[in-house]
Amino acid sequence: MDAAAQLMAQVQRGEPEAFESLVQQYQGPLYAFFVRLGIRQADAEDLVQETFLRVYKARQTFDPQRTFPPWLYGIASHVWADYWRQQERVQVSVARAAQEMGAAEAAEVSDVRDQAARRDVVRQVRESMHQLPEDHRLVLILRHYQGLRYDEIAQALGLSVGTVKSRIYYALAKLRVELRRRGLLEA
């Protein structure tokens, strides 16, 4: 049983402190997950909260013999899908998210000389990622940034491992072409 699954087992037994540890541990990865999926930062916090609320409500359906992250990201993916369904002005939000993220990321770069160049790379990576179909982007983010294995992604999203693999292959192939076109892949 992994550490997070153990905490969930404690939550199931009615120990709220264990849930606080889970929130501490996964707030950062979940926040990054939503931001990379194109949620603007102000809304990403709401989605993180909503995910944890759903996790708590569904706590008794979690099997502590399994790993926690696939279950968590399965719920988070539903939260993300529900969010977009509610949004009427998706394009506006994505554009705003891009602006906000550009500003925040710029603030994080410590070396002033590299700031402009790095911001440009980050912007181009983000734009390239957002050219992928949503379902491909979701799978790639889960594999590359969140570190889930193919079988865990398949479990989280209710897909076959073959589908997960083919989406990752397609996404990386398309990204490779796009990054090369933007001049980001020179040796």
């Binding site: 009615g14 709220p16 849930f19 606080e20 929130v23 501490q24 707030q27 950062g28 926040y31 990054a32 931001v35 990379r36 930062q41 809304d43 990403a44 916090e45 709401d46 993180v48 909260q49 909503e50 944890f52 609320l53 708590y56 409500k57 529900d82 509610q86 949004q87 009427e88 939000s93 993220m101 925040a104 990321e105 603030a107 994080e108 790095r118 790379v121 980050v122 990576v125 983000r126 990622m129 594999r143 590359h144 940034y145 294995r149 193919y150 693999k165 990752i168 292959y169 990386l172 990204l175 490779r176 990054l179 980001l184 892949l185 040796a187």
Partner: protein
């Protein structure tokens, strides 16, 4: 193993998604194949470029806000205890708060109803309010998520209406309407005005309550607005009834009809306004 087969597994190799023997076979092939080494190097450059996309840390206090929301919406935790309320204390606490609210409501409104305010009537009204307030407090404090939001809005709207009553009682408003229209008692114009003002007078606390306490994530069906409106109406019905009973029958009936329509329209309208506000801020 030829290069084509190796390249088909290159991404699995990179992400270490292969069984050890497959992984070792590709490793061995790579040692002697410059083209496949190039392919792997390109894949690593793609990954390294993706890795440059770092996102900011979550905002400070996210954990605390998440836990506070969890307590408020799901667990039903008392803010000062940090413990889940599943004990025997919650119903007693709710009933105690309900009793206090009932006492305060009686204190604020009993003197406005001299004709109906017999001890027996006041006792019945006090018990009615204590039970109703207590139930709403229980729904707010307890873990019944579907009822929590409705109860919160109904409590706030009812409290506002009771507070409004001594400041601006229904007979005073009716009197002002009569003066406005030159005391055209019984006329169609006065009845229409009373109907309209009665609706607004009743709906206003509900709209304010939705604005203050009605913020929920995601869309809320208008039926929830209707349900919270009906709970609110139940809460304030005695005050309105006792005040309207002091009026002429036609005037009181017109006012109450306007009030009922105001609640039926005000609940869903409050939900719509809260949703509109949430959409505008998104």
């Amino acid at each position: 193993m030829d290069c084509q087969a190796i390249r088909e597994q290159m991404i699995d190799y990179f992400y270490r998604e292969l069984p050890p023997e497959e992984w070792a076979r590709i490793e061995e092939h790579l040692l002697g194949c410059r083209e496949c080494q190039e392919e792997l190097a390109t894949l690593r450059r793609v990954a390294a470029t993706l890795d440059q996309w770092q996102v900011p840390e979550p905002p400070r206090g996210l954990v605390e806000r998440t836990l506070a929301r969890l307590r408020a919406e799901v667990i039903g935790v008392l803010p000062w205890s940090g413990r889940e309320v599943v004990s025997w204390a919650t119903p007693f606490l709710a009933l105690g708060l309900g009793g206090l609210a009932a006492g305060a409501s009686l204190g604020l409104t009993a003197h406005l109803t001299p004709h109906q305010g017999t001890p027996f009537m006041l006792a019945v009204l006090g018990i009615f309010w204590a039970v109703l307030y207590g139930g709403l407090f229980l729904a707010t404090l307890g873990g019944w998520a579907p009822w929590k939001q409705l109860a919160r809005v109904a409590l706030l709207a009812g409290g506002l209406a009771v507070l409004l009553t001594p400041v601006l009682s229904i007979p005073e408003v009716v009197e002002a309407c009569g003066e406005l229209l030159g005391r055209a008692r019984g006329s169609v114009a006065l009845n229409a005005l009373l109907f309209l003002v009665g609706g607004l007078y009743t709906a206003a606390p509900l709209l304010v309550a939705h604005r203050v306490a009605g913020r929920t994530p995601g869309p809320v069906p208008p039926s929830q607005g209707l349900a919270s409106g009906l709970l609110y109406l139940l809460l304030v019905a005695p005050v309105f009834y006792l005040q309207c009973a002091a009026l002429a029958l036609g005037v009181g009936a017109t006012w109450m009809a306007g009030g009922i329509v105001g609640v039926l329209a005000g609940g869903p309208a409050g939900i719509w306004l809260a949703g509109h506000r949430a959409a505008a801020s998104a």
